[in-house]
Subunit: 274 residues, 2 copies
């Protein structure tokens, strides 16, 4: 599997990806899932991919040459598109081209055409935009209400993103949040692995700002890993355990519920369930 | 969906279940998923179920009358089984009976025979045991190394269980951990909902110890919900943001990796991907 997260903030964009690919647990490899397309001063785009590796590698390759018809004008490519929307349409077309090439054979082999991608960036004067592209080449865009997308093993790391991120979150805090989210995912799921690719893009720069590759020796990620786990335990221990005796507790566990009775208890073989 | 967690500790057993059932997001109902089988002084067993509700309700009903052949002796039921292993075999047989009855019709309708159950408890002098029962009626047992099982929407709430639980965890701390795990799941997934059923069983008692139903007005769960979210944010904010400038940081983010280069950057349409 894979875990990637892309975040669109007022201050910029954050991208984080792992690099584990597996075909069964006995076939684990390292493949980087983030790629940057950059013409400094003109456009800056980041692509992260999850799903079938043969599909996403083919999409990357084809994306470099994919062209959308544009009436009598020059066809649209990711390098001349005037908006991130158009650039994402080119990516969708690349996905569809791979589907045309490989879809029938994959289907015959009983393999789903499975790929999902996060694509975001900025072109010229347009605002930064962030898209989630599906296997059918269709896509959705992040908004103020939903400012991040995840692909791959997304569930383990979603609660911390839900709790922390808003469009106003500062860039480096969002990067830290993404790394904590990744750390939880790494801890609970073997199909996600190091190294990580982290990219933090500041609004309006139109070139890469901050790029890092984090392996197991990276001091910052080691610190996140150790500190987060340890403080989480401290916080956990600082919260009162439930008290079963008496209503004198500050937060009685046994407060009666108006609507619900305790769970059903069966005490003999003859008792009816309902 | 559903989220249930069962934990086997040296000190006892903890069971926690939500009560949301949905057939699509526009068909949401409340069904309790925990049921207790108890003959005080003789046996104490708890069943929690996830998956297709028609299947799990049928399994519950049939479990009351299911009998395993036992040579010339009296057939084995959950009420006379001499071990939790045998009681779980009876549960597996009940699952298989529902499969015989409903499986072909479900298959014809394109519906998977989907159910999973956590079943645990104690019979007589035997140690407490905890099982995870699959749709095929087969099952696995919790051990010292893996002391909890989850069914349903398990991923959101797994990291905190992974970080906290060991066989030595005290009972009430484990109950708190299960509630924090549930809180994260409720926050990130609409298909899990209140009220919660919580049961904490102390080793050797052979009857229910502590039973609670927690709805949205429950003071302890409200406290967990508010405090955990808030302290998590405090801990998060207390951890240093990554620093991109200079190697003087205590935990430099930009420490070089020996094995890995930064992610691939493409700067023109003519550049090859590989």
């Amino acid at each position: 599997m894979t875990y990637c997260v892309g975040i669109r903030l007022n201050a910029g964009l954050v991208f984080l990806s792992d690099s584990r690919t597996n075909a069964g647990v006995d076939a684990i490899s390292t493949f980087r899932k983030m790629i940057v397309y950059e013409k400094p001063g003109d456009r800056f785009m980041v692509l992260m991919s999850a799903g079938n590796l043969s599909i996403s590698q083919s999409v990357r390759e084809i994306l470099q040459v994919e062209k959308l018809p544009n009436g009598d004008d020059e066809p649209i490519t990711i390098w001349n598109a005037k908006s991130m929307f158009d650039a994402t349409r080119v990516l969708g077309a690349a996905v569809r081209r791979v589907y045309e090439q490989d879809g029938p054979s994959l289907k015959a082999a009983g393999i789903d055409f499975n790929c999902s991608m996060i694509f975001g960036g900025q072109i010229g004067d347009e605002a930064m935009r962030l898209f989630l592209v599906y296997s059918a080449g269709n896509f959705i865009e992040a908004t103020r209400e939903t400012c991040f997308f995840q692909i791959g093993e997304s569930k383990y790391g979603k609660p911390i993103l839900d709790r922390v991120l808003t469009p106003h979150t500062p860039l480096d805090e969002a990067a830290k949040c993404a790394l904590v989210s990744m750390d939880s995912t790494l801890k609970s799921n073997l199909s996600v692995g190091l190294p990580l690719d982290l990219l933090v893009y500041e609004a309006g720069r139109l070139k890469s700002d901050h790029i890092a590759v984090l392996d197991e020796h990276n001091p910052y990620f080691q610190m996140i890993h150790t500190t987060w786990g340890q403080r989480l335990r401290e916080v956990f221990e600082s919260i009162d355990d439930p008290q079963w005796d008496g209503a004198e507790a500050d937060h009685p566990l046994l407060a009666p519920s108006e609507r619900f009775e305790p769970m059903r208890k069966i005490t003999s073989p003859d008792e009816k369930i309902i």
